[in-house]
């Protein structure tokens, strides 16, 4: 009796896991399979017949290709560099310098990153960017991304920097290094795994966003891929599923590559040197 109960429990457990896996896995599977299918539906199907024509057609759409390789890259890389650089420096300062009220500032940061949501801020953001004369520029979009992502990035980075014992830097100071040198030789290499997390995260946020570039950009030649994907819709508004899928797969690849690269190059963490 007990044994049967146990088996039933096991079974329920695996069924639950299967459902969860299907929930997350099937859309991914669809994304990988559909682009190679000549006639696709919204169901997950083995490509029949198998074809690369969809990619051919997508690559012939210069508007969509430019959106992906140029506009998206500029916006995402710009946001990534800005967020990572500023977040690292400010988090380091917040963690290491004895600034009165620095912990309150950190809590305000969490507040701003969670309470002021994107949609509610759209009108003021548009007005600010308009008054700055940055409407329909990459810079305007990048600045808004940096501003929006920084609070959370600084908060995450500060936590990360706090986790690094100060004695590393202190021992470098005593060894004779000037503070700037301590930062470059000792602090920066130790913070780097955290910087990589922020970099990937901000890249992905900017890469996949739709609303901000949609509002701030006007000219088709500056639109990112999230908007350009609508060029695979017919004029009646129905999507060409195979082309949308092919374009989406291309759209997803850089993020996957970036993740794999960072994981391979920096993803491992250093341990040791500090005895706990």
């Amino acid at each position: 009796m007990k044994r049967i109960k146990h088996l039933l429990g096991e079974a329920a457990y695996y069924i639950f896991i299967l459902v969860v896996m299907a929930f997350f896995g099937l859309p991914l599977l669809w994304l990988v399979l559909t682009p190679f299918n000549a006639r696709a539906t919204l169901a997950v199907e083995i490509p029949q017949p198998f074809t690369l024509d969809n990619f051919q057609q997508v690559l012939n759409n210069t508007f969509a290709v430019r959106a992906l390789v140029q506009n998206n890259m500029i916006i995402a890389v710009g946001a990534m560099l800005g967020v990572t650089l500023i977040a690292t420096l400010s988090a380091y300062a917040l963690s290491r310098a004895r600034v009165p009220g620095s912990s309150q500032l950190t809590y305000i940061l969490i507040l701003f990153s969670s309470v002021v949501t994107g949609t509610a801020a759209m009108v003021p953001i548009f007005l600010i960017i308009f008054n700055l004369g940055l409407i329909d520029t990459y810079l305007g979009v990048i600045v808004v991304f940096i501003g929006g992502l920084l609070p959370a990035a600084i908060f995450i980075m500060r936590d990360f920097v706090e986790g690094i014992p100060r004695s590393y830097e202190e021992s470098a100071l005593v060894a004779g290094a000037a503070p700037s040198r301590v930062f470059l030789d000792v602090a920066l290499p130790l913070i780097r795994p955290g910087m990589m997390v922020i970099a990937i995260w901000s890249f992905v946020q900017a890469w996949g966003s739709f609303l901000i570039p949609f509002i701030l950009l006007r000219s088709p030649e500056r639109m990112p891929a999230s908007i350009a994907v609508y060029s695979f819709y017919t004029e009646a508004g129905t999507p060409n599923i195979t082309l949308v899928a092919a374009y989406s797969l291309l759209y997803a690849i850089p993020v996957v590559i970036l993740y794999l690269f960072v994981n391979w190059r920096y993803g491992f963490r250093f341990f040791g040197g500090i005895k706990r």
């Binding site: 005593v174 060894a175 000792v186 250093f270 040791g272």
Partner: protein, 362 residues
């Protein structure tokens, strides 16, 4: 090479005085230990010498130079941290050579000097390993190598052995003292382990609540603790402290209803001078200065045997006298055979009397 002088050095964190007017003279080339419980201000004092904390008041001199306001890198010091702080992203060669690298020493000379320092500590075969690939003892040696490599004027040690296991700690104690004697560099060593301080230092300063309560050669401090705090901090087990009452007229002290005659007490004159009739006192006696017997002996206290701990060369007998444990050290090869009621007689040449507030009377 040079001595260190601290003059009324203080550090306040808000309204708390972590270090309170500490004045110390550390001689050129000596091994000096700052000893005290956690939170007594010893590490803060060391960090002020290193320049990692700003002094609130007072001055620090290294040699003839007033370094009170100088940055750490201008003080010509080397420091070993409790957690070693070896840089995890560098191999041992770069770790040990870092002080040379920031001084702009050419790579070839750097390698040679690092190898020499590593050789003297027996870790020269590990130079291309990362800290994570080393054992605790090896990391500790690497941290020491990094401190000796640039021939600083002063070595600062912040509890460098507290993360090692007991066996390694005793071993490391030996090589630290040997090394310090070899290079002859003025060394300040912070520890909360009284055995370490006694074993290593030429002079120790014992700190309590930001103040130095006693300073001197280890054995002098051990044999004549100036306060009950020092008495209870030095020695393992520390000095037994028993509350009692002086009866000057009868020339005796009453401890737990036992009266011990002070005819033989070495400090009788001072006691008469500084204490009043029937005053409360604390009697201090080291575990090795008590005689234990299974039968009644004159001038003795009585209690019940609580536990017997054979330690090899010596044994400890813990006796409970009115609920208070009293340790007795016996230098015997056999396990002592005591049980039940026993009598303890203090060596009156070795007894101390303290005021209830802790100050030594005689």
């Amino acid at each position: 090479m040079s001595g260190i002088q601290l003059d009324r050095l203080s550090k306040h964190f808000g309204s708390v005085a972590a270090v309170d007017e500490v004045t110390l003279q550390i001689q050129d080339g000596e091994f000096f230990a700052l000893l005290g419980p956690s939170g007594c201000g010893k590490t803060t004092t060391l960090r002020m010498i290193a320049g990692l904390e700003k002094a609130t008041a007072g001055t620090i001199k290294i040699g003839d130079r007033d370094v009170t306001t100088l940055a750490p890198r201008e003080r010509d010091i080397a420091m070993v941290f409790q957690d070693y702080a070896l840089y995890p992203h560098m191999n041992l060669l770069d770790n040990i050579g870092y002080p040379l690298k920031v001084r702009g020493i050419p790579r070839a000379e750097l390698q040679q000097r690092v190898t020499e320092a590593a050789q003297s500590l027996g870790i020269d075969h590990l130079l291309n390993r990362r800290p994570a690939q080393l054992s605790g003892g090896q990391q500790q040696r690497a941290a020491v190598a990094r401190a000796i490599v640039h021939h600083a004027q002063v070595f600062l040690f912040d509890e460098p052995l507290s993360n090692l296991d007991a066996k390694l700690r005793v071993e490391a104690r030996g090589f630290l003292k040997h090394l310090q004697r070899q290079v002859g560099v003025t060394t300040v060593y912070v520890t909360h382990d009284q055995a370490e301080a006694m074993a290593l230092a030429d002079h120790i300063a014992i700190m309590e609540q930001g103040k130095v309560v006693q300073m001197g050669p280890p054995l002098e401090v051990y044999h004549r603790p100036r306060t009950t705090f020092v008495a209870s901090f030095l020695g393992s087990p520390p000095m037994n402290l028993l509350r009692g009452q002086l009866d000057l007229a009868a020339r005796q002290v009453r401890v737990n209803n036992a009266a011990i005659s002070l005819e033989q007490f070495r400090g009788w004159d001072r006691l008469v001078e500084h204490a009043q009739q029937n005053v409360n006192v604390v009697m201090g006696i080291r575990p090795e200065h008590l005689t234990i017997a299974q039968h009644e002996i004159p001038q003795s206290l009585t209690g019940e045997v609580y536990a017997i701990q054979p330690l090899g060369a010596e044994s400890l007998v813990i006796v409970q006298i009115k609920g208070e444990p009293v340790s007795v050290r016996l230098f015997t090869d056999d396990t002592p055979q005591f049980s039940g009621r026993v009598w303890l007689a203090p060596d009156l040449q070795r007894v101390f009397f303290y005021h209830p507030d802790g100050e030594l009377i005689a």
